[in-house]
Amino acid sequence: MAENAAQTSVGQKKAAVGFSRSLLLTPSEDLVGFLSGHLGRAILFCITATSVAAVLLIFYFVIRESIPFFYTGTAASGIARVKEFFLDTGWYPSATVPRYGALALIVGSLYVTIGALVIAVPLGLLAGVYLSDIAPFSLRQICKPVIEILAAIPSVAYGFFAVMVLAPWLQTHLGFSTGTNAMNASLILAVMALPTIISVSEDAMSAIGREIREASYGLGATRAETMIKVVLPAAHSGILAAVLLGMMRAIGETMVVWMASGNASRIPSPWWDVSQSIRTMTATIAGDMGETPKNSEHYYALFTVGLTLLVFTFSLNLISEYLLSQIMRNKRGGK
């Protein structure tokens, strides 16, 4: 080591008149450094690759375990299974003649998700607008972390609140016969999706540069006009991404819907009756998986539900990734 240091200092002295030798040591001169450099690089690569491999493995296992549900021998029976799964509303996996109709579950998942978005998107966007354009800097510095704490509350705590507080409240104040229903689940999911929607949309709107706003004011637009006609349209891709991320939070949530939605596997009729209980795909997997014998038909059916869910969230994720890359372009002054 001391020798190396001496050599380097010699090298530095000569630097003014040009290097007599390469600044990088060759592997033979610094074997330990060479090896530890490469080894470190390899270890870091492995660590990074683990999470990528995890995603691929999850896809592999979920698909592998759901194939036997459809592949039951003949093509006709396979098609009948697909039809039953997507078109039948009867989910009776433990009946003597089991039925695996997941339509009510798929509709249930979409129902609470859309219900949550109807509540959370307007609130989230308005809060985002306020934080990015209206709130004084010091208030914003306080609000943002507090809103982000909302995302850190464990979902079982939300679920507990839904069952113990919100459900009786809905029953006594709105006269619902049951308090654990689509509305309860949507309300709680909306609160859970809010932090994501607020912070991503706020980022998107802040990313729209000051010069665009000033140009708008310069043309005589008011603050409201600037906000609605200039900033929101310019930030639309980021806002869409915020909505999609909020949607993913809502559709993938399990504990809350399992506790708050009532889990009755049917499609509400009439469709707008939010006081009826419904059941989602996530709640079905969580509720049934515990005691389902491995490699039974029911087990494969649950994996098929999981695969459906995975396809949903994966496509949402792809779309939001694309939209988020659009914000990055805006930030660099493109568009």
Binding site: V163, Q171, T180, A264, S265, R279
Partner: protein, 277 residues
């Protein structure tokens, strides 16, 4: 260097401990397999046994049918089951020179509960089945006030659901409007706060916040469940190949429910012990 040394010492100690534990395990071993309902009792019995006798007991919970199959194939010493053997299982066992003997270790019973304000005091088993199959939708059809019935069930993977589904609904499908909750306390909480609710919970969850209904004229109590008089009750079994050799580990396990500790375990797991004192 120091760190490496400490790490090495750790490994040596850990390996040492494991080999000691391994040596102790080889003395005696017992394999249990079967019902997920009886499983928790089996687990707790095994834990008490391991502490007391230092033997090794493995408890697998694969379902009653699989447990019996494992007994027939000789893959386990004791099969746990929440039902008696089916005739074809018995035939298969005898063909394989296995002679199953049943040991009833506890009774499993669930009570039908409603909100305390509900004037209905008594239902028949058929009426409860009709409620859960969606044929009766309002309490006024049962002599109560004009209020929609909110039927609440346990999740389909629970043993509580299983006994209710078997004894009350006779294995017919529940209506799609029935709500599901994933634990006894939650069913209790929902009934406590919902005027029109009906649900079923383990005997241990009865209190003044909910009202237990008489079914077919019989109130759910420890006695009526232990005697099998209450509709929603069933025995829980251990099956062995022949009556176990007296004094053997299997024998001790199968009569463990008679001890004070065994009975308190049975009660703690939400079942009814067979003794009445």
């Amino acid at each position: 260097m120091k760190k490496i040394l400490i790490l090495a010492m750790f490994v040596v100690v850990a390996v040492g401990l494991m080999s000691v534990a391994g040596a102790a395990e080889e003395k005696k071993a017992l394999q249990l397999d079967g019902s997920t309902t009886v499983g928790p009792v089996g687990d707790a019995f095994a834990e008490a046994f391991i502490k007391e006798k230092g033997c090794s007991i493995t408890v697998k919970k694969t379902g009653s049918g699989d447990g019996v199959a494992a007994l027939i194939d000789g893959r386990c010493d004791i099969a746990m089951s929440s039902r008696y053997l089916k005739p074809e299982e018995y035939k298969r066992a005898v063909d394989a020179n296995v002679f199953p003997v049943a040991h009833v270790i506890a009774m499993d019973g669930v009570c039908v509960i409603v909100h305390p304000s509900n004037p209905v005091k008594e239902l028949t088993g058929a009426q409860v089945a009709d409620i859960y199959m969606g044929k009766i939708k309002n309490w006024k059809e049962l002599g109560g006030s004009d209020m929609p019935i909110v039927a609440i069930s346990r999740d389909t993977s629970s043993g509580t659901y299983e006994v209710f589904h078997e004894k009350v609904l006779k294995k017919q499908n529940m209506d799609a409007a029935v709500e599901y909750v994933n634990a006894n306390p939650q069913a209790h909480a929902r009934v406590k706060s919902t005027a029109g609710a009906i649900a079923y919970v383990g005997l241990g969850f009865l209190d003044s916040n909910v009202k237990a209904l008489k079914i077919d004229g019989i109130m759910p109590t420890r006695q009526t469940i232990a005697q099998g008089a209450y509709l929603v009750s069933r025995p829980l079994f251990l099956f062995t190949n022949g009556y176990p050799k007296l004094g053997s580990l299997t024998h001790a396990f199968c009569i463990f429910y008679l001890t004070e500790e065994g009975q308190s375990i049975v009660e703690a797991k939400g079942f009814v012990s067979l003794t009445s004192y």
